[in-house]
C-alpha cells in the first residue's frame, strides 16, 4: 500500500510574541510540525510497516517553513520513506480550500496513492476540514475524526469514526482520504537512529497548483484583549495561606 501522510509546518504558538499594538510578531518564532499531524505521521508509520508498503510525507507552505533542513529531517525521522514538498510563497494558505487544492494537486502528482492521511486540524488555523476537502476534491471517500484504521485487503480498509455520542465503522474502498483523531495513537519520539537516517532520505519539491485563489480576506488579526483579572497572588501552602484562599472562595463564589 502506498500511503501519503500530510503534515503542516507551523510557527510554535507558545512562542509567538504579542506586540503592544496587540498585533502578533511571528519573526524568529521557531517552526514545528503541527501537533495533530504527528498523529497522521504515526498512523502512516504503523500502516506502512511491512514489505511492499511505502510512506511519503507531504508538506505544503512557504519557504521560511519548508526550506530549513532541520524541519525536513524532523519530518523524515518519524517513519516516512521520503518527503514531498510544495513550496509556494504566492499563496498564504489561510483558508482550508487553498491548502486542500495544493494537497490534492500534490497527491495527483505523486500518483497511485492508496491512502492519504491528515491530522484533525493544524495548530495554527485548526480548520478541521482540510482533509475532508482534499477527499471531496479528489472524488475519494473521506472520513474525519478517525480513531482506528484496519486494513482488510489491498483495496479496502475498515475505518472507525468517533462522533460526540457514537462510534461508527465504515468499510472504505481505496483510494481514500482519512483525517485521524489525536486519539488514534500516541506519536513516538524519534530515536537517534531515525534522526541519523532522516538526513539521507530523498526530498523532492513538487509544482504548486497555478490557480489557487483565496475564498476570503483577512480584515484584522489581533491578540484577544487581556481580560481583567485581579491577580491576588499569595505565596505559601500553610494553613494561613489556605485560609485566605477559602476566604476568597466564600466571598466571591460559594
Amino acid at each position: 500500500m502506498k500511503i501519503v501522510a500530510c503534515c503542516k509546518v507551523v510557527p510554535d504558538e507558545e512562542l509567538i510574541q504579542v506586540l503592544s499594538s496587540r498585533e502578533l510578531s511571528l519573526d524568529g518564532v521557531p517552526a514545528k510540525i503541527s501537533q495533530y499531524d504527528l498523529n497522521a505521521l504515526e498512523a502512516g508509520k504503523k500502516l506502512s510497516a511491512g514489505a511492499g508498503n511505502t510512506l511519503t510525507a507531504l508538506s505544503i507552505g512557504g519557504k521560511t517553513f519548508l526550506e530549513p533542513t532541520k524541519i525536513r529531517k524532523d519530518i523524515l525521522s518519524r517513519g516516512a520513506d521520503d518527503l514531498k514538498l510544495v513550496i509556494d510563497d504566492s499563496v498564504t494558505f489561510d483558508d482550508s480550500l487553498q491548502t486542500a487544492r495544493a494537497i490534492a494537486a500534490a497527491v495527483r502528482e505523486i500518483g497511485d496513492a492508496d491512502l492519504i492521511l491528515c491530522g484533525t486540524g493544524s495548530s495554527d488555523l485548526y480548520a478541521q476540514v482540510t482533509g475532508i476537502q482534499v477527499g471531496a476534491l479528489l472524488g475519494y471517500p473521506t472520513v474525519n475524526n478517525v480513531t482506528d484504521i484496519r486494513v482488510v485487503d489491498a483495496g479496502t480498509v475498515e475505518v472507525e469514526r468517533t462522533l460526540e455520542n457514537s462510534v461508527e465503522t465504515f468499510s472504505v474502498p481505496l483510494p481514500a482520504v482519512l483525517s485521524v483523531s489525536s486519539e488514534i495513537n500516541t506519536p513516538g519520539v524519534p530515536a537517534m537512529r531515525d534522526i541519523m537516517r532522516a538526513g539521507k532520505k530523498p526530498v523532492a519539491v513538487l509544482a504548486a497548483p497555478g490557480d489557487n485563489a483565496a475564498s476570503a480576506d483577512i480584515l484584522s488579526q489581533l491578540a484577544p484583549e487581556q481580560q481583567e483579572r485581579r491577580q491576588e497572588i499569595i505565596e505559601g501552602d500553610n494553613e494561613e495561606a489556605v485560609d485566605k484562599l477559602v476566604a476568597f472562595l466564600r466571598k466571591e463564589v460559594l
Binding site: E13, E14, I16, L24, D95, S96, L97, A100, T120, S123, D124, Y126, Q128, V129, T130, I132, Q133, A136, P141, T142, N144, R161, T162, L163, E164, S166, V167, E168, T169, F170, S171, E183, A214, S215, A216, D217, I218, L219, S220, Q221, L222, A223, P224, R229, R230, Q231, E232, I233, I234, G236, D237, N238, V242, L245, V246, F248, L249, E252, V253, L254
Partner: protein, 308 residues
C-alpha cells in the same frame, strides 16, 4: 443591507432554533436543511427558518452523502452562505459542501455580521494567540458555528414551506456499524464550577484528591490537553482549550496547571479563575483572580478539610 440567503445545516435537531435565529438576523431568507424524513422536518418547522428542506437519510446512510445535493440547492441562489453546526459530522458536511461550492470552510466562528454585503466573522488562530476577522470574497461561503454563539430570538411562526431536497445521495459512505459511546458524557460547558487539573499532578492516583475537592465544591473535573492526550488520565472530552472544550463557569480552580496559551483560550471566559501552582512564574497566575504559590499536595488536603 442584509445578506440575501443563508442555509442552516445541522446534524442535531436541537441546534436549529439558535442557528436559525442567528441566520435570520443576518439574511432575508433562511433555509434549514434537516436530515430525516418529512416528520423530522415538520418537527423542526418552528425553528425560525423560512423554509425547510429535508434529506431522507437511510438507516445505512450518512448525512454527508447529501453534500452534493445540498450544494446544488444552494447554487440556485446567485450568492448564499452556509452555516453548519460545529460538530464532527457538521464539519464533514461543511467540508464537502464547501468543495462543491468552490469555497473554503471556516470552523468554529463567532461574531457573524454582514459587512459590505459580505459575511464577516471572527475566529481564533494560533492556539488562542489571536482572533482573526475574516470576510468571504467568493459568492458562496461555509462556516461552522458552535452553540451559544447567537442570541435566541422571539419564537417565530412555524413554516409550512417544507419539501424534500432534490437529488440523491452521491458516492455514499458504507457504514457497517454504529454504537452509542459507553463513557458517561460530562458537559463541562454547562458546569458552574470546574476543577481544572494540569500536569503538576505527579501521578494518576492523585486524581482522587482532585475528585474529592470537586465533590466538596460541587464541581466537575476537567484538565489540560497533556493530561488527557499524553497521560490519558481523563477522557479527551474533558480537556479544555482552543482545541478542546471552551467553558464559562463561575469558578475555575486550576490545580498544578501552567497556563499555556491554548489552554487559557478555553477557560478565559470563566468568571473567577483561582490557581494553585508551586511555580511562581507559571503563566496561569497572570490569568488568575486569586493565586496560591504553593505545593498542591499540601494545599489540597487543607482546602478539602476546610470546605467540607
Amino acid at each position: 443591507m442584509a445578506l440575501t440567503s443563508i442555509y442552516v445545516i445541522s446534524d442535531t435537531a436541537a441546534a436549529f432554533p439558535e442557528l436559525c435565529a442567528g441566520a435570520k438576523q443576518l439574511a432575508g431568507s433562511v433555509t434549514a436543511i434537516v436530515f430525516g424524513d418529512l416528520a423530522a422536518a415538520e418537527a423542526a418547522a418552528g425553528c425560525g427558518a423560512d423554509r425547510i428542506l429535508f434529506c431522507p437519510v437511510s438507516d445505512a446512510g450518512s448525512p454527508e452523502d447529501y453534500a452534493a445535493a445540498i450544494a446544488a440547492e444552494v447554487k440556485k441562489d446567485a450568492s448564499a452562505y452556509v452555516i453548519v453546526n460545529n460538530t464532527i459530522l457538521g464539519r464533514a458536511i461543511a467540508g464537502k459542501v464547501g468543495v462543491y461550492l468552490d469555497a473554503a470552510v471556516f470552523s468554529n466562528v463567532s461574531e457573524l455580521a454582514e459587512e459590505n454585503g459580505r459575511l464577516a466573522f471572527s475566529r481564533t488562530v494560533y492556539g488562542g494567540a489571536a482572533a482573526r476577522r475574516i470576510a468571504f470574497t467568493t459568492p458562496y461561503g461555509v462556516v461552522t458555528v458552535g452553540g451559544g454563539t447567537f442570541e435566541m430570538g422571539a419564537p417565530l411562526p412555524a413554516t409550512t414551506q417544507i419539501a424534500q431536497i432534490e437529488g440523491e445521495p452521491a458516492a455514499p459512505l458504507n457504514r457497517i456499524s454504529r454504537d452509542e459511546k459507553r463513557e458517561t458524557a460530562v458537559n463541562l460547558t454547562a458546569a458552574r464550577r470546574i476543577v481544572d487539573v494540569g500536569r503538576g499532578l505527579a501521578k494518576e492516583e492523585d486524581l482522587e484528591i482532585c475528585r474529592k475537592l470537586a465533590s466538596v465544591l460541587d464541581a466537575e473535573v476537567g484538565c489540560s490537553r497533556p493530561v488527557a492526550e499524553n497521560n490519558k488520565w481523563l477522557p479527551k472530552n474533558v480537556y479544555m482549550g482552543i482545541t478542546g472544550v471552551q467553558v464559562k463557569p463561575d469558578l475555575l480552580l486550576a490545580i498544578g496547571l501552567s497556563g499555556q496559551i491554548q489552554h487559557i483560550g478555553g477557560i478565559n471566559k470563566s468568571r473567577f479563575i483561582v490557581a494553585v501552582n508551586k511555580d511562581k512564574s507559571a503563566p496561569i497566575f497572570k490569568s488568575a483572580d486569586f493565586g496560591l504559590v504553593g505545593d498542591l499536595y499540601k494545599v489540597l488536603p487543607l482546602l478539602i478539610e476546610k470546605l467540607s
